[in-house]
């Protein structure tokens, strides 16, 4: 995407022509909705969250300092919105070790196609504690770019690496029991 287009549209919006913001929304709707979806796994909620992120960006357009790319600034705003939403949602999500959660994962893995297994792994990511989940979600969303992840989260790269490593460790420690069953089934 062209950074100049964003800059021109922002200038136009700041000059009073709100319709230019529509071009910004059109350009960024897909990444923002997809990022929101990775946080909440609910399509309709993802659109609501992305809309809130765009609204916050519109309100704070004046505060965008041009030393960072518009996309970096926009993703940082969106990440903040999604993290807050995640914290609110976390009361409703299943804890990682809950019987229901593990049973659901097992059910997904026993008959498993690759797709089922991938879905189960993603569910396991969703059940991680927030600080690991957000790092993992953003890291893979940004195509495994640590610095982009740290900019979006506003965290030092070292912290991102540490949380990433810990999050993966938790995932790996919980996966074998499911995957073991899967491999046994495949071997039979």
């Amino acid at each position: 995407m062209d950074a100049r287009e964003d800059e021109e549209d922002v200038d136009t919006v700041l000059a009073g022509d709100i319709s230019a913001f529509e071009r910004i929304v059109q350009r960024w709707q897909r990444p923002l909705v997809n990022l929101a979806y990775r946080f909440c796994r609910d399509r309709s909620r993802a659109e609501d969250m992305a809309q809130e992120a765009f609204l916050r960006a519109f309100r704070g357009l004046k505060s965008w300092r041009r030393d960072a790319a518009f996309s970096t600034w926009l993703f940082a705003i969106a990440t903040n919105v999604y993290r807050s939403e995640l914290r609110r949602l976390s009361e409703c999500t299943l804890p990682l070790d809950s019987v229901e959660c593990l049973a659901a994962l097992n059910a997904n893995l026993i008959d498993s196609t690759d797709e089922d297994r991938d879905r189960a792994v993603r569910r396991l990511v969703s059940a991680l504690p927030g600080k690991y989940k957000e790092v993992l979600v953003l890291f893979y969303f940004h195509e495994m770019d640590i610095s982009a992840t740290s900019r979006s989260l506003g965290l030092p790269e070292g912290t991102v690496k540490a949380r990433l490593s810990r999050g993966r460790k938790i995932l790996r420690s919980r996966l074998p029991q499911f995957l073991g069953e899967l491999h046994l089934k495949e071997a039979q």
Partner: protein
Amino acid sequence: MKPDELDRVLSRESEIIPSSGFVRSVMAAVRSEAAAPPPIPFPWKRAMPGLLACLVAIAWSVVDAFRSPAPASASVIPQTATHWIDGVAPLLEKAQIFGAEWVLLGLLLTYAGLKLTWHLAGRRM
């Protein structure tokens, strides 16, 4: 699961396409936001004389308390303070007659109840 396998699973995620009305819905929200009147700022200019008067009064009472000669008695309470207490004491007595402590307790409980309600409502919204 090997790390690279985990990377492969988590990187390979199908994209969702925003619904056709998404842009329209965002722009409607943006337009209504832009059309809303700006928040009313605190009237600093109007409040300034009152605030200045309060500051001057406080500064004056502090200066006056230090300038007043110390009483011959061993009392450690400054004279200004004793005058102030003398003035307030009858008010406190009257307030006690009207059950002011219960009114105050009622107000505090109402305030605590409201704060709790806002807090809980804020968490659910």
